[in-house]
Symmetry: D2
Amino acid sequence: MMGIMRIGRAQLRVMDLDTAVDYYTNVIGLDVVGKEEGKVYLKAWDEWDHHSLILQQADSPGLDHFAFKVEKEDDLSEFEKKVEQFGCTLKRISKGARLGEGEAIRFELPTGHQVELYSEIEQLGTKVGVLNPHPWPDGLRGIAPHRLDHVLLTGEDVKTVTRFFTEALGLYQSEQVLSVDGEDMVGSFMYAANGKPHDVAFIKGPDKKLHHAAFYVEHWYDVLKAADILSKHDVTVEITPTRHAMTRGQTVYFFDPSGNRNEAFASGYITYPDFPTITWTEDKIMHGIFYHRRMLIEESYMKALT
Amino acid sequence: MMGIMRIGRAQLRVMDLDTAVDYYTNVIGLDVVGKEEGKVYLKAWDEWDHHSLILQQADSPGLDHFAFKVEKEDDLSEFEKKVEQFGCTLKRISKGARLGEGEAIRFELPTGHQVELYSEIEQLGTKVGVLNPHPWPDGLRGIAPHRLDHVLLTGEDVKTVTRFFTEALGLYQSEQVLSVDGEDMVGSFMYAANGKPHDVAFIKGPDKKLHHAAFYVEHWYDVLKAADILSKHDVTVEITPTRHAMTRGQTVYFFDPSGNRNEAFASGYITYPDFPTITWTEDKIMHGIFYHRRMLIEESYMKALT
Amino acid sequence: MMGIMRIGRAQLRVMDLDTAVDYYTNVIGLDVVGKEEGKVYLKAWDEWDHHSLILQQADSPGLDHFAFKVEKEDDLSEFEKKVEQFGCTLKRISKGARLGEGEAIRFELPTGHQVELYSEIEQLGTKVGVLNPHPWPDGLRGIAPHRLDHVLLTGEDVKTVTRFFTEALGLYQSEQVLSVDGEDMVGSFMYAANGKPHDVAFIKGPDKKLHHAAFYVEHWYDVLKAADILSKHDVTVEITPTRHAMTRGQTVYFFDPSGNRNEAFASGYITYPDFPTITWTEDKIMHGIFYHRRMLIEESYMKALT
Amino acid sequence: MMGIMRIGRAQLRVMDLDTAVDYYTNVIGLDVVGKEEGKVYLKAWDEWDHHSLILQQADSPGLDHFAFKVEKEDDLSEFEKKVEQFGCTLKRISKGARLGEGEAIRFELPTGHQVELYSEIEQLGTKVGVLNPHPWPDGLRGIAPHRLDHVLLTGEDVKTVTRFFTEALGLYQSEQVLSVDGEDMVGSFMYAANGKPHDVAFIKGPDKKLHHAAFYVEHWYDVLKAADILSKHDVTVEITPTRHAMTRGQTVYFFDPSGNRNEAFASGYITYPDFPTITWTEDKIMHGIFYHRRMLIEESYMKALT
């Protein structure tokens, strides 16, 4: 059992669906692949699966749920047991409940976030195809990220949610932030066995909240171009290009029209299951997050949660 | 069973050990971590394990063997069965046969190359450590790659060796090159479930030969700097910076003092076990290898094997 | 008298005007700004003047002429004297002979190339304008260079043509290539007082010929993208991305549909009139041109002249 | 008369000379070329002249003076007349008053800053030399900029100081910031005829003050590396990497140990004397300075002057 392969989708609540679709297609540069009542499905050009982002009309912004893709259909029942053993309530989502998808299981994290696991999903393919492909397609728009990369969430009990992900879901922890006395875990980065520095991460804060959803771009130069594009579209850029020491990735943070924080994230180290967890002490957390400024750049970064 | 995590090491035959050590430390920028009679062990700054490259004094250049690291000690006996079922002769290497390593199994590929699997190896850690790390260390020398990335080998029967890697070792095939009639496989790229586009690849050619050993650098800009550094050290650069359409990586090829081909390889797409295999038709193979030139740049590229 | 500011335009002979316009607009990414019988005028997005490239329908490819813009109208008569003192035959081109231009003077170089000087030209402005401009415009196509950068020509007597440019036209020599005995000048790079490493350069070869016309892109990353775009359009790339030691610029060479060689050129050092001329000895010329390969990469590079 | 070629040097007041030398050599990466009582002379690796930065022991930080290099010795007397015609008091500095330099003229700007013009200075050469040079030297340290690039100063009367530079010194204005009613000039960027977007710039503020001294790096990637290096040395980074719309350059701002602001500045457009001046309206000034954030990132940016 390989288990979880990657974060496969996020469903974001947005307050005006048309405005959101315009932003996620023209500024971020995703493609619309399907529509339902009150929902629009999108994918990035370099993703194989039918969709990675669902926009959902709602009264308030935030994350409806996010989901991991598991390798095999049979993995679902294995995970069902483990999740229930951990004490989480779980339900089955029927095939066809979402466009292009098969059956899923849905449960609540110790932090109150809704998570799903699924295996079956239609593959639309990347825009360059599988036969003698070019390295990138014509007609890209906006930031044009390769993929949905990760979500960062807040929760009261980071230690327990980390234990849930590593024990019940088989993820690995790349980095942790510990209180200076070493007693409390205030940050946690976790990845499936896919080489990424994180598929999901938590920082201590209110339960059920989204800090940001990140899209992957390849280079530091693409981070510059992303920031330029955001300014050309008059999108609010909260944190201008800088480097994380955590993950080593390069970043720019900004907000979608409903106030959900997005990130264009580039580079970052490779991970393997045998790599030790990197530890940050809380007094150095700002070195970890904003390696260049080494202090909180904007108050909003800690407060604006959806 | 997660199984194979990554290519963990390559042992290269070199004709003058001192010259080779000088090149791999000052031009490539690896660090010497240990010595034995006729052998020098090295690692890259961003690798955790004790070593990833062993240089071995020999009468002719080439690849003595390469090895995969598996996640758990128990995986070795599982793989032992599968390798023997496939019909390969296999032997155990005792703990302590190599510096810093535990037990290993060794066998011959259908292409005649020697491969080992191991799980236990001392971890020296990266040069930035695990506590509040900086993104990169001071005192880097030369090209300073992050890691040994992959080897590309030649063999008569690419189809069978691919079947061996996917069936017996559980690797995945990211790309294949088929003859125009679709009958013959003349190229094959394979990866463990680690997000990389390849850990090992084969192109049709004489058995037992090494085409190149590749080291990972992060950016296209690092490929430029690598090429500059090679020229400053008067190292023969065979293929100047360009892009592969296969893997999408960026590359520069050059030779170590014994004539073993090296590559500085950057970027490349992410892989997952559920991704379809990309297919190249043999008439487009040069588009795949040298995306910009779309023809064989240097005759030596096909002929210089060690 | 400031004198010559820059190379302002090149007029290229092309064998099929429609095909050429398609290439220079969609692959290079210039904009058509005007048409006359048998001629199409184009400019790059970041140029101020009315045009920088004129395509001229002809039976054979090559350079009809190139032209320098001088700062003041009065400079023309000053240069007229100097050019005639040097012994070159000269004529006046009337205002209106070209779209958007005023009067010009035209003369033949010692190498047989036709050159013009002009001062008056309509300014269409860059695509980002002069009021609160964005750093780059929307809607760029193809390679989208900033400007025509330089031309490299061949001629029998490089020393004399260099003397003409420095003495009669007031240009400065940034680099020269001398025969090993120091007697003969076989390469020469010259610039106006504008900070560029070259506006025009010569290498020893047949008179009247064009080696290449170069367009400026900003970064090494843009050179990669340029090479990618060329491959996507199936344009012949002669020399894949590499660095010149001469000028330190980064480069990719390719051909327009008529066989005129183009270059996408990035970076390069800054120059000032008080900088010494850099000297290359002819035995190191390939280090200078192809810093990474340090040998002639393609025979065509020396032979394909138009 | 070509006149002014470039900003040639800045003399900074520092409060502890040893600390300052350590910072400017190991973090910025300049080389010490000479010492006098209370002064240390430095140059960047890619500059030809004897020095471009003089550190002067003082009780308070700030800019003692900065200086332009003019092309010819005779230019000095020409400028002497023009400066005096403009009403500035002027004095001659004798040859030998500074290491490696000839005679200079010194005068006070309408903003109270001290400026010098000089022509004669010993040339030490760049670190790569003038014979078959490599594109960059071995042994670079720290940020390793190519050169001193520009200074940005504050003054009460930006319009008059601009008139002084353009009329008396023959500089060109690349960009201006006007009050919304168009009456007042609150920012001004000026360059010599050298292709740079600025050699000196002013923003409205107290007279005699330095906002920053900038060093040139080539690429956006070098800005990332510069910011990384600053963090590794625990230097205060005030503004993390971003783009200016003014000049289009890429930037990171930080402070030397005495509180003088430094910038690592990359890219930026080319300029020519015939280019129109770009105009910013004061309501868009933050778009111009911090193109991504479009607001004042740090209060200190307007207040910390030396």
